[in-house]
Amino acid sequence: MRKILSLAVAVTAGLALAGIGQASAQEKLKAAWVYIGPVGDFGWTYQHDQGRKAVEAAFGDKVETTYVESVPEGPDAERVIEQLARAGNKIIFTTSFGYMEPTLKVAKRHPKVFFEHATGYKRDKNLATYNAKFHEGRYVLGQIAAKMSKTGTIGYIASFPIPEVISGINSLMLGAQSVNPDMKIKVVWVNSWFDPAKEADAGKALIDQGADVISQHTDSPAAMQAAEARGVKAFGQASDMITFGPKAQLTSIVDNWGPYYVERVKAAMDGTWKPTDTWAGMKDGEVVMAPYTNMPDDVKAMAQATQAKITSGELNPFKGPIYNQKGELVVKEGEVLADKDILSMNWYVKGIDDKVPGQ
């Protein structure tokens, strides 16, 4: 029912946008964004919308931006994207993994429109992909967690078993093991990107089971609040969530999409746009760490040093030797895992008790 409703809202919004599009002046470059959640989620979608606002700030009158929020993945998304393409948008950003096939389909039908799909791997003549190396930040989180945890157990609130989340869990675990090889991690899947009450419940369940550092791969600050209320530590996600956990937050991985969006809109204006595959991280300023708080100075220094090493390229979280859960050597000593293997990751590193869902 909820899907049908969202669809109704999305389609209505799409139609409204189409109407607006035909009435407006043509010389402005029109850019559109398709969001999985509400811009008010204070997480994933909120940060993409901050990026959209950065585009508006950078180009002023030369650009006209629109967005459609809370668009369900799948066929509903295709209709929304199609509407945006027909409405005269020159460049369309679709910002969730599940928009991959719909974006590809619509891109084929509108060869003159530039499409950009976040977190996917399928490209076309007019379809670029982009993503951020969040796992770089999670390695730092793992190290901090290993230093800060008294129980030796990290709690991880996971959304969906897709490569981005699996590689996030692995990277955090590898970071933790680099400090303390005996660290444990408890993973709870909530099968949702955004359901604050459920995220809070998951956080409480993990704390009740002995986790004293909570990491989340979902989008609301609810888990941070749960950690604050129960007196344990936590990491924020997507936005700096320090207001929700003044005593709990250690740091937060902040998604900073603004620079990329400005660059791509400019390319669309200049006619230099190409179907690139961008996977930026700390080095490019796309993965930013919120201030390190609520930790001793030596832990902070360690985190900063690791961050600097990742930024300079000296340290790669997926550097061998890495063993999988069965104890098989996956990455040899001295080698690093190829990007494509991180982007399609569906296995856990050694030491994680959970099973990858669906396997």
């Binding site: 029912m1 909820r2 409703l5 109704a8 809202v9 959640g37 509400p38 811009v39 008010g40 989620d41 204070f42 909120y46 929020e69 809370s70 709690g155 078993p161 408890k186 993973v187 709870v188 899947w189 909530v190 099968n191 949702s192 955004f194 359901d195 604050p196 009450a197 459920k198 995220e199 809070a200 419940d201 998951a202 409480k204 369940a205 993990l206 009740d208 089971q209 609301s220 600050p221 609810a222 609040q225 209320a229 936005s239 207001t243 929700f244 008790d353 959970d354 099973k355 869902p357 669906g358």
Partner: protein, 307 residues
């Protein structure tokens, strides 16, 4: 695997999770017993959450926030009542429209409050009692919304079964033409029932944004209004079964998270669906045991008085 302190904490979480659903579904139950199917619960809930949070944040008073949430739920329910009761429009369509309107309004009202926080509604603490193992945190460590939901349940159960007003309300829901012929103001009674439903949905929204996860984010009800609606149907329109359904749903929702934490290797997708499956199964069994007690006969049928 579970010691007393953890068991107490888990059960307290179950009660808290069930409370939002119980509040919203109690209101809907009353509206439906009067013959109006209001699919606007989700919308009234989210508006309650938004207005409640905005008011509490602006005034610093959780009580004012809660009252504002209730009023907001009532205000939106009046939109529905105006359409469905007085203009006799299709109730399903009017309810859906109310939800869509509510989601939009809530996003608008809340847009200035994204990223802010307030202190959660305090939990009751009774020295001595709250520290009892297991029952302490469950019975004596909850926030006011939890106790309000139980009081409301008792009031609704008693009111529907034992009072004259309850009898009239049920009569309107069963056969509005007969009730009208007897001189009962059908539309006024239905409007009041829908308003009660709006108040309860608003209160449920306030529970989310003021106590459960005390902040504002769009869509934070995440479909709980629909679950509340389903619970009313599965409870066969009986308040006590509704209580059972809401608590069962809350229990399975929380326990599946714990099962995952223990790493038993059960697919998480299956576990996530368990609250729905378990609640449906249990309430279907209950309904089957008590045959012949289905929906109010006039449910969803618009009433147009003949003059």
């Amino acid at each position: 695997m579970l010691d007393a302190a953890i068991l107490g904490a888990v059960l307290a979480s179950v009660v808290a999770a069930a409370t939002t659903l119980l509040l919203a579904s109690l209101g809907e139950l009353v509206a439906e017993r009067a013959g109006t199917l209001n699919l606007g619960v989700e919308g009234m809930m989210i508006v309650g959450a938004a207005v409640g949070y905005a008011t509490a944040y602006s005034t610093g008073s959780l009580l004012l926030g809660t009252l504002a949430a209730i009023l907001a739920g009532v205000a939106l329910s009046l939109v529905f009542a105006g359409l469905a009761v007085w203009l006799a429009t299709n109730q399903v369509a009017s309810g859906l429209a109310t939800t869509i309107l509510g989601l939009g309004l809530a996003g608008l009202i809340g847009s200035g409050f994204v990223g802010t926080r307030i202190d959660a509604a305090p939990a009751l603490r009774v020295p001595g009692l709250t520290d009892l193992p297991v029952v302490g945190p469950v019975l004596f460590g909850q926030d006011a919304f939890v106790y309000a939901s139980i009081l409301l349940l008792i009031a609704v159960a008693y009111g529907l079964a034992r009072t004259r007003a309850g009898l009239v309300l049920r009569a309107v829901g069963e056969n509005h033409a007969a009730a009208h012929a007897l001189g009962h103001p059908v539309r006024r009674i239905r409007t009041l029932a829908v308003m009660f439903g709006g108040a309860c949905a608003g209160l449920a929204g306030a529970h989310l944004s003021l106590a459960y996860t005390p902040f504002w984010a769009s869509d934070m009800t995440a479909g709980r209004g629909w679950i509340a609606l389903a619970l009313v149907v599965f409870s066969a329109w009986r308040p006590l079964w509704l209580l059972a359904g809401a608590y069962l749903f809350g229990a399975v929702s929380i326990l599946q998270l714990h099962v995952q934490g223990f790493g038993l290797g059960i697919p998480s997708q299956l576990l996530s669906s368990l609250p729905y499956l378990a609640t449906i199964a249990a309430l279907v069994v209950i309904s089957a045991l008590k045959r012949g007690q289905g929906a109010p006969a006039s449910l969803g049928v618009p009433f147009v008085p003949d003059r």
